[in-house]
């Protein structure tokens, strides 16, 4: 009885988790960096549109899997920007830094 309850609970949680995982994202922007300043990043997408996304103090930057700072963002470089609930950049992902 206890085992079946645990299995049922786990299934419910998994269903809930997968549903939320699908629902949680607020989108992302992929393209190349067209401009970057303290307050925003502009990304040129494949379709030729330029999308401006606000940067905040909470925005996290990653080069590959390494944590980075805004100074790592270079114009012309590929970028993926994950958006938050208010359209702000939550995470800016850049290609891994090249080894010298």
């Amino acid at each position: 009885m206890r085992k079946s309850t645990t299995v049922l609970l786990t299934l419910c949680l998994l269903l809930l988790a997968s549903g939320l995982a699908l629902a949680h994202g607020h989108g992302h922007v992929m393209g190349t960096v067209a401009a970057v300043s303290a307050g925003r990043i502009e990304v040129k997408t494949k379709e030729g549109k330029t999308v401006a996304v606000p940067l905040t103090a909470a925005t996290k930057y990653f080069q590959g899997h390494q944590q980075a700072t805004r100074s790592a963002v270079k114009i012309g470089e590929r970028v993926v920007v994950h958006l938050g609930a208010k359209g702000e950049a939550v995470e800016v992902r850049l290609p891994a830094a090249k080894k010298t």
């Binding site: 997968s18 995982a21 607020h26 992302h28 922007v29 702000e88 891994a96």
Partner: protein, 206 residues
């Protein structure tokens, strides 16, 4: 006014106030988005305190605190608990923020002052009328996992960015999210340019 008259008047006033409150409640509805009021918080905390038997409250964590134990606890927490509590234990997640009552910020004194035994009891038995379920079976293995989590909860005020990053890699992900991540990796490594899905926000210009 006679004693009976005063009693009747008081009863009418109380009834009127209750009716007005009930009507306001019906009109406005009840939302889990609301913050519990001070009285409700106080009563809930007292109820939670009373729900933990004294002998359970006085238990000390039987596991010695080691870096390996904390790493195991982080992996467990990232997989089972972070969905509501967040990897940093602050409850700033979609579910945590919208539960009623909200998932607590476990780095704060309200949680940190709870004894090892209280935290263990809460993990093992859950908290009624909240989003906190009872976790694990009544086995030594599951009890060990819960005691590990007790150590992690007391570690939350000092958790590092590197530890959180490590936990993020262990959070459950849906197949759709896995595909999305793979696509991003490919793109960042110089693969075919992927189209951006229409962003929900962001200011667009040409």
């Amino acid at each position: 006014m006679s004693r009976r008259g005063r009693f009747a008047l008081t009863a009418v006033v109380v009834l009127l106030l209750l009716s007005a409150g009930g009507l306001a409640l019906l009109r406005r509805g009840l939302s889990a988005r609301d913050e519990p009021g001070a009285i409700e918080r106080f009563v809930a905390r007292q109820a939670r305190h009373l729900a933990v038997p004294r002998e359970a409250r006085d238990l000390k964590n039987p596991l010695p605190l080691t870096p390996e134990l904390l790493a195991e606890a982080r992996a467990h927490f990232a997989d089972h608990c972070a969905l509501c509590h967040g990897n940093d234990g602050r409850g700033r997640t979609e579910i945590g923020r919208n539960l009623y009552p909200k998932a607590p910020d476990m780095t704060l004194a309200d949680t940190q002052k709870l004894s090892d035994g209280e935290l263990f009891f809460i993990i093992k038995n859950g908290v009624r009328l909240t989003g906190m379920p009872a976790w694990g079976a009544d086995t030594p293995e599951d009890d060990r996992s819960s005691w590990q989590l007790v150590h992690l909860i007391h570690h939350f005020p000092r958790i590092t960015a590197a530890e959180i990053r490590e936990m993020e890699a262990l959070n459950p992900v849906s197949p759709a999210e896995l595909r999305e991540r793979a696509e991003e990796e490919r793109f960042l490594e110089g693969g075919d340019e992927a189209s951006s899905p229409e962003p929900t926000h962001g200011h667009e210009h040409h």
